[in-house]
Point group: C2
Chain length 337, copies 2
Amino acid sequence: MRSDVILLGHGSGGKLSHELLDELIVPALSGLGQSDQNDAAVLAAQQGLLAFTTDSYVVDPIFFPGGNIGDLAIHGTVNDLAMVGARPIAISVGLIIEEGLAVHELRAILESMRAASRQAGVAIVTGDTKVVPRGKADKIFINTSGIGVIDHDVQISGSNARVGDKILINGTIGDHGMAVLASREGLQLESCITTDSAPLNNMVEVLVEKLGNQLHALRDPTRGGVATTLKEIAVQSRVEITLQETLLPINFAVAGACGILGLDPLFVANEGKLLAFVAPEAAEQALSIMLSHVHGKHAAIIGEVTSTAAGKVRLRTAIGGLRAIEMLAGEQLPRIC
Amino acid sequence: MRSDVILLGHGSGGKLSHELLDELIVPALSGLGQSDQNDAAVLAAQQGLLAFTTDSYVVDPIFFPGGNIGDLAIHGTVNDLAMVGARPIAISVGLIIEEGLAVHELRAILESMRAASRQAGVAIVTGDTKVVPRGKADKIFINTSGIGVIDHDVQISGSNARVGDKILINGTIGDHGMAVLASREGLQLESCITTDSAPLNNMVEVLVEKLGNQLHALRDPTRGGVATTLKEIAVQSRVEITLQETLLPINFAVAGACGILGLDPLFVANEGKLLAFVAPEAAEQALSIMLSHVHGKHAAIIGEVTSTAAGKVRLRTAIGGLRAIEMLAGEQLPRIC
């Protein structure tokens, strides 16, 4: 690269764009074949239903403890595919770059996208790069879209939770949101809080294989946190959910930071967590699958589906009361993903 | 909608986000089923190879003569799929909205996306919405990714152009770029120049069906224009291309505006045009297919593949000279798509 920063001309489609692609983006992402730059990637025929998802990432700051906007964007889209029981097969990367972004920052982001996609076992197959003038974006925004294949008969859907289901989560809540917030605000916390951003497709594959149709619903509690996600499922499945506050796994430092800032960790974003609704007789098996997985060491059963009172979520508090849980009303932490 | 403008909270993932989805985005786009908001859309199994593409749109201004950022985003992704011979089956929509965007503008954009996707015969199946603070984006950026199916045996690729091939274009060049530029700069041109933004998948389906393997390469000359796109194909296919200046179809008003501004229309973006490389014996048939199509009324044969001098593009000028054509070097017109 002849420039240390991204220039407007890098988005022209012309010579500078090709230079950016050939000298930085293609080598860093690697999956994008330089020899076959057609308008669309061509993939092998697939057996099974297809899953398709998209997410744009606008997180601020773009680097935070434990990750950056690049691996976050890969994990998020891999996880969205996994949440419908799909095996991710291909990811697209759409970059919107603000003129002036440092080339070394872009390279670091792209390299972490490559590492994250390899870890998740999915190929980055196509991409697009736009550059906008200084002050018209904020460093970099990344869209990742993904295709997955569903080659099993297990029906997983947010509308499929049933009375009696146990609700599991694969670890502590609120880590991602608090890591980003602490980093953004320059908070000097006693212990470092790092993002939980991680690919969950492998864990979901094991759950699908071992639990079969005893696995009813999956969702990753990102924006809006565990509370908003459970509310969505309660509405979609027309059921009532009861959570046990004492069972919620929470990192000590996250709990402390939330306390200081007056935030409820139930509403703070996660990026490497899933909520699983499973038939009660399969709950212990699901828990042990999670506990033995690298991304599930602090997994727990945190509640259950208690009735057909559609759309209700209740929290049984530590002192035995019941609290109604609603969706996040406004914007607690903007630009968390 | 309780607000006339988009608020930061509309990107929270919580209550305001759901209100935005349920009251504006889902009804306006319509394809996004409100009853099945899972993390990923699930599509039927497909026979054939899959095509996958992504594009982000950052055009400024977001409304311009003949279109807006919304239908442009649909056409662009439909066309990228068509350029590898794929039939588009599903599109995703990722919105990055600047806080303060007028709700009526967002509605108009979404409604034109719906109309464009219907015209192209493709469903919008999944989406994502992010909101960033005022001054951190420019009104709205849209990513559209798309899946297509290739269920024929015709090999279409930018690396497949061969010596002797005739090169066709389906109409006048430079219309989109000049429409956006004129609109952005408030130029008072004698006659209105409108974008050529259009879906080309139907035309490509007919070309594939009628020409079979006599159709070698397709590409839409967007950013960088006809010149840059031909240069790409000359490099990819390791051939030399010779264009005839007198054969290039160009709108009188576009030629005039380019003259006034000192722009070469060969480098100006198009959004409803394709360049087709076809075996010489099929060129007349390809031309008549284009001429009889609503998006090909001004189609022409504009040149041919003249030798194996890899990566060269030459223009035979109106007065009989030869001019070497290179890629667009810098940024002629930023944010044209």
